[in-house]
């Protein structure tokens, strides 16, 4: 077989794999939107925000233009994390009266069975850099300079829900 033919077959295989992944992901998004029922307004991939148990908003990709980018170099692996501060995200969607120093914010990853509980005081302290970084597969992961969110094991990868409770 000639080299050109081999290269063409290789390129077709590569394109086929990429097409397969994107098609399945589009299908997953459509299936999610269909099964959402009462939450049908939620864009696939958006992260719903619940205040006192009621869904009041969703962190939508369309709103990213309204959020400044932030970054920090995490000390354990010396890796740069870049994304959007949870402080900016919550201020964008929630009323100020819900964001008191002792307001509890829970960031959850259902698929990974992980969550992180933070107070608004910790989130609003910008030196803690509590923020979402975009993971390699395009989902959000919560990272921070806080001791209890400093390592990979403690980050909340594949975040899909934010719960806010005002005491």
């Amino acid at each position: 077989m000639s080299q050109t033919k081999r290269l063409l077959i290789g390129i077709v295989i590569l394109g086929g794999l990429a097409g397969l992944v994107l098609s399945v992901e589009m299908w997953r998004g459509a299936a999610l939107a269909q099964s959402a029922g009462a939450e049908a307004t939620l864009t696939p991939g958006a992260v719903p925000i619940y205040l006192q148990g009621q869904r009041v908003a969703a962190f939508e990709p369309a709103d990213l233009e309204r959020l400044p980018l932030a970054n920090f170099v995490e000390p354990v692996e010396n890796k740069t994390q870049e994304g959007w501060l949870l402080y900016d995200v919550l201020r964008l969607y929630l009323p100020e009266e819900a964001l008191l120093a002792d307001t509890q914010v829970r960031v959850i990853s259902t698929s990974r069975g992980k969550s992180a509980e933070l107070t608004w005081g910790e989130i609003a302290d910008l030196k803690n850099m509590v923020m979402f970084d975009l993971s390699g597969r395009g989902t959000l992961k919560l990272v921070s300079l806080l001791d209890r969110l400093a390592t990979r094991d403690q980050w909340v990868q594949d975040t899909d829900r934010i719960e806010v409770n005002v005491p």
């Binding site: 081999r6 290269l7 295989i13 992944v21 259902t110 390699g136 395009g138 989902t139 990868q157 594949d158």
Partner: protein, 185 residues
């Protein structure tokens, strides 16, 4: 007692070389940092090392051995965002992907072939991460183009790693390394 048929497939010297390449991949992944904030950027050195390994030990399955060995090491060292199983499988997928791609594109000193093998091998890693995400019902990507950007990153950086590997092999050939190695077997 009869020895299994596969027992002499790799010589001890070749297994030592493959183990060293495996360790090099894990060390490179942990130590080397690039300022790029793009998905799959580590494929540049990852695929380069993998391709050099397949030529230094020119036996079918060499890349898979490097993949499995580096996967075990990386899993024990806690590398990766998604747990030990994900880490082990994704490292293994790179090796298996390279071996499969080399059935079609065997000449790693040819730049276009090496680039494509690098891209295919690195895409194997992406596929494993994605399949595990789908099985675990991970949320769909936050950005509509997030996944497309990830795939493109894995392909481009894998291909660049392949080219870097091919250039390294050409340099090793010019330096007479393969003639030296032939005497060591």
């Amino acid at each position: 007692m009869t020895r299994p048929a596969w027992s002499g497939y790799f010589s001890t010297f070749q297994l030592i070389l493959l183990a060293l390449f495996s360790a090099l991949i894990v060390v490179a992944k942990i130590v080397l940092r690039t300022p790029l904030q793009l998905p799959g950027h580590t494929g540049i050195f990852w695929m380069a090392i993998m391709l050099v390994a397949t030529r230094v030990v020119p036996r079918r399955g060499a890349a898979s051995v490097v993949g499995v060995t580096s996967g075990i090491m990386a899993a024990f060292l806690g590398a990766g965002d998604f747990g030990a199983l994900n880490t082990f499988l994704s490292y293994t997928a790179v090796g298996v992907g390279v071996d499969l791609a080399m059935l079609l594109l065997p000449n790693m000193e040819n730049l276009p072939q090496a680039a494509l093998v690098g891209a295919l091998g690195h895409t194997g890693k992406f596929l494993v991460k994605w399949v595990i995400g789908v099985v675990a019902q991970a949320p769909v990507g936050f950005l509509a183009l997030g996944l497309a950007r990830s795939i493109a990153g894995y392909i481009v950086f894998g291909a660049l790693g392949g080219v870097l590997g091919a250039l390294t092999l050409l340099a090793l050939r010019r330096a007479g390394y393969f003639a030296y190695l032939a005497e060591k077997k």
